[in-house]
Symmetry: C2
DNA sequence: CTCCTTGATTCGGTGACCGAACTCTTCCGC
DNA sequence: GCGGAAGAGTTCGGTCACCGAATCAAGGAG
């Protein structure tokens, strides 16, 4: 719950109805602008795939999580894949992975203005070891780093999670490649 | 109202309370994650500065706009500046301008997945005339384009606003430098 | 002085969100 | 096979933010 207990976000509902035209940001916000949605996407990028892991890590009400997952699957952002047993797991589609720049930009802005002890997470180009800038380019080799080649590492401003924050928080406080399932 | 009538977004509330720690994206969403907030920032980037222009262009309830503006001023994202007469105008601070990558990333994602007739807006490097990529770099000269040197131009997918959409929509459907006041 | 515009504030109604309890299925150890 | 535990949701009452229309106050124009 660590990451989540941080803050209660608020509300945001669905559009359902809209008239003829739209600027593209409105369309994007209709999909990912609701409360929790971008946090779900972020967790999915970090490798969270199971219902209970989202609940544990985000502290999101289960009913809301159910609705968000269904909606994101319907919009083609997530894909339901069979897990162990008859369980479902949730995986980002290519469209969903396309939201990575949004997540990165928001995190960078938050780090810049709300991390007094320094950045909480630093993203690194796998292999090259260069740092990934907000623009998505590697500061060392200049290459545009794909999501799969990005490694998340804790920064100086990341408070170590306490045990009661749950197992997912603990796993995500250690360096790990993005998209790699936590389980 | 054009841009807005597009869709009803939904709800999103404030955090007010939060415990000790937070990942940076949660902190960022506590500021700009509520309904309307990012649209207000986007409009401010496009040069909207007056209360009534936000209302006209976004279709946001006035009470909600009042609350959002106060909140954003309190957070240092917007700054109240005296306008003509005793009117107030609202202007982005440096911190607020730092949200431009977020707005650009969201718009780009929306354009990519929800603009069947092509992108709705294209951003161009002033002077150089090169197109600004999602990463913020100019595709022609490679330079990282600042907000003030970016010109917004309508793309092929932008539906021309009808007269009843209001004056602000009309102004914003023509090429113009970002941050330049619409009035 | 009066009307109009601008910048809000007020208010009733609605609906999404919260969280705790509950259900149902599957997995695991013996 | 049986009991318990864990996973994946579902249900439900209460609260609170949002919606939209009406209203208010102050400055400017005529």
């Amino acid at each position: 719950m660590t990451e989540l207990f941080c803050g209660r976000l608020g509300r945001m509902a669905l559009p359902r109805e809209y008239t003829n035209q739209a600027c593209s940001m409105v369309r994007a916000l209709e999909i990912v602008g609701e409360r929790w949605t971008l946090l779900i996407v972020r967790d999915a990028v970090f490798g969270v795939r199971r219902f209970s892991d989202f609940v544990e890590h985000l502290g999101i009400p289960r009913a809301v999580l159910t609705e968000r997952l269904e909606f994101l699957i319907g919009e083609g952002v997530l894909k339901r894949v069979p897990g162990p047993g008859k369980r479902s797991e949730y995986e980002l589609t290519a469209k969903g992975r396309g939201l990575w720049p949004v997540v990165r930009a928001l995190s960078a802005w938050g780090d810049e203005h709300y991390a007094p002890d320094g950045r909480r997470r630093v993203f690194v180009h796998a292999g090259c070891e260069g740092e990934v800038a907000q623009s998505g380019a590697c500061l060392r080799c200049g290459e545009d780093v794909t999501l799969a080649r990005t490694v998340m590492t804790p920064g100086p401003g990341l408070t170590p999670p306490s045990p009661e924050d749950g197992q997912v928080s603990a796993i995500l406080s250690r360096p790990r490649p993005l998209l790699q399932p936590v389980h």
